[in-house]
Amino acid sequence: MGRSRIQTIFYSAAALISLVGLAEATYLTVVFLSGETAVCGGSPDCFQVLGSSYAKIGGIPVSGLGALAYFSAFAFATFAGFGYGHARRFFAWTVIAMFGMTLWLLFVQAFRLHAFCRYCLFSAALVFLLTGLLVARPVAETEKS
């Protein structure tokens, strides 16, 4: 398989994962802004996490920042897929920042709030997938055609 084709597949997958994350983060942002409560099948955990002081930074909902991050990842992955060289580097830095933030949020849920929000865990899984793709990328990019 050609190198450019592998790259296209890789960045398409990354863009798709980012799109899913963008949809979820946008939904959570709307829920936050409308003052509604996110329902997690009767479990109080979502409420504990999404209603906590950790759910916003300087008044801005973390889900809103997440939406921005996913949109950036989507945009950079799309441009990288079309061969824009700089976009690859921006994509990598965005995913690394998201990974760091995800680790922090998982730590907060496990050790400070003692509650896990399913939406947040789903988002964490998406970020881990993106990180996995990023780690696998050099292999794919250096593969000989």
């Binding site: 509604e36 409560t37 109080p44 209603g51 002081s53």
Partner: protein
């Protein structure tokens, strides 16, 4: 064309995200309107009440409710609509029934929210999420989270929930209900006349309210 394609894709996705978010936000806001007035009134007798609408309204609807009672939850939004439609004065009294495990705690949560000017917002939230917290093994955690969602001072909310003042307020409401013969929920009074329990339904209540309004203002 291929040169511009990524710009078009990214712009489209950005527009879809913002547009979709705005559409969802509008839909949620119109589905769950928040009452504008949210204050606790003190009557000349010193009694505190939670009331919506003008004190000199032609019709006063007084409800004795239990946040865990499903029929009360069903009536919550129709009463909000009637309040707006007829500019009613709506008074809510806590009447938590002993058969409902979390009803009293929910009443404390509403009273604690009232201490921060958010009684009606908490009232609506408790009814909207009734199916969730009433089945929960840790309803208190949910009430704390609701307080967070309503942007309340959580420390103060927790203190107020356990305070004797808040518990006394709920006791006072229950006592008042017992004095005037309230035994179950929802019990509704229209201009101090009890509405027969068979007519307390989203279908029949509007007719009762309309009749009460016409009776109070025969010329209009």
């Amino acid at each position: 064309m291929k040169r511009y394609l990524p710009f078009i894709i990214v712009a489209l996705v950005g527009l879809l995200a913002v547009g979709g978010g705005a559409f969802l936000y509008r839909a949620k806001r119109s589905a769950n309107p928040t009452p504008k007035i949210s204050k606790t009134e003190t009557l000349p007798s010193g009694e505190s009440i939670h009331a919506l609408g003008p004190a000199d309204a032609a019709v006063t609807l007084e409800e004795f409710g239990d946040f865990q009672c499903p029929p009360c939850g069903v009536l919550s939004e129709p009463i909000n609509q009637l309040q707006k439609q007829y500019n009613l004065r709506v008074i809510y009294r806590n009447f938590p029934l002993a058969i409902h495990a979390h009803a009293k705690e929910a009443a404390f949560a509403a009273e604690a929210a009232a201490r921060q000017g958010r009684f009606w917002q908490m009232h609506d939230l408790l009814y909207r999420e009734q199916a969730v917290w009433s089945k929960s093994t840790d309803a208190r955690a949910l009430f704390n989270a609701y307080a967070g969602m309503l942007q309340l001072d959580l420390g103060r909310f927790k203190e107020d929930m356990d305070s004797s003042d808040v518990q006394q307020q709920v006791e006072n409401d229950q006592q008042r209900g017992a004095e005037i013969g309230v035994k179950t929920t929802p019990t509704i009074f229209l201009n101090n006349k009890v509405v027969p329990s068979k007519q307390i339904s989203p279908d029949e209540l509007p007719g009762m309210v309309e009749a009460a309004v016409k009776k109070a203002k025969p010329s209009s």
